[in-house]
Symmetry: C2
Subunit: 196 residues, 2 copies
């Protein structure tokens, strides 16, 4: 096996371990044991536990971003639907990769956290683009609302897509309804539900 191949397999194994265990359980020791290779080899590839965490979490992030890249040729609401559909599918198909990202957000290492944060910002930027194209005016509150909705969606995906057997189409539809509702709630002049 080539060194690159062996390295990629170790990263994939690290990602898989994070499906069931928190980041602190992923160590040079636990990975070398699980892979049946020497500690020295793991150290050779990743240096430290921090280096290992960075590699694993940022690899997971990049697969997620590739899978959810928006299709620029679609109209805004279709693009939103398409992106959310692919994200839900990705979370269902690659539970361990998604969990690696959620775990990475809780890392004690700033580089790991910042890497995950960049992905969240990028997702928020895509949403902001959708609602601008739909005619919502640019505002700090709209950006904050959509950034916060990314945290909302992450929590929803952890709960629904992984712990229940709700059909993917229903999850996508709920995410679509909730993001539209949140974007509309930025405007204090719209009536909104449950008028007080």
């Amino acid at each position: 096996m080539s060194p690159e191949r062996r390295r990629a397999e170790l990263v994939a194994l690290g990602v898989a371990m994070l499906a069931n265990e928190p980041l602190e359980a992923l160590t040079i020791e636990s990975l070398s044991e699980r892979a049946g290779v020497s500690r020295g080899l793991v150290i050779h590839y990743f240096g430290t536990r921090q280096g290992l965490h960075r590699e694993v979490v940022l690899t997971a992030r990049d697969s997620m971003l590739r899978a959810s890249e928006p299709q620029p040729e679609l109209a805004p609401l279709d693009r939103l639907h398409d992106t959310l559909t692919r994200i839900v599918q990705f979370v269902r198909d690659h539970r361990e990769t998604f969990f690696s990202l959620v775990r990475g957000a809780a890392s004690g290492d700033r580089q790991v956290r910042d890497g995950v944060e960049q992905a969240r910002s990028l997702q928020a930027d895509h949403l902001i683009a959708v609602f601008h194209e739909l005619g919502l005016p640019d505002s700090d509150l709209l950006s904050i609302a959509l950034r916060s909705w990314v945290a909302f969606a992450e929590e929803t995906l952890v709960e629904i897509a992984i712990n229940t057997d709700m059909p993917s189409a229903e999850i996508v539809a709920f995410l679509e309804r909730s993001v539209k509702a949140v974007a509309a709630s930025v405007d204090a002049n719209l009536p909104g539900p449950f008028a007080g």
Copy 2:
């Protein structure tokens, strides 16, 4: 100074340090240095760095929960408004306590994370009670939506209440609009904004 008093002061100093630094920067060493006391004294009170983190984060959590305890005699929408008003005020007045909670959620220590998670669940339960009383039917999706909205609100509060000078009343109004919008979005039969 009594031992309880001294211990409480060390906890308060730990909470204050988390306003500007991540959890991993709060160590036996950094706290003893900042407090001008011996490492031995800090170890005497908290044992380990984990023990220190637990004490600091759970103390912050308990102050937040006390400050945001719902007033049961209020009608549901008034109770929601009152609770959110007190939460925003608390975050503005006790920036460091709120940040300690946000940092605690990213702790590598399961006991610290679970402690913060309990507080989120409690906040979500209060919201679920409000919307039940308003007539929304009990459903898994409503619970998940409101739990996810707690993550949304946390992100919004980090962004707005701390980094901007938006008046507290506007922040409260936005949080109210967004939580009502999210609760209504659970029902697939309601029209909702931006109908596709």
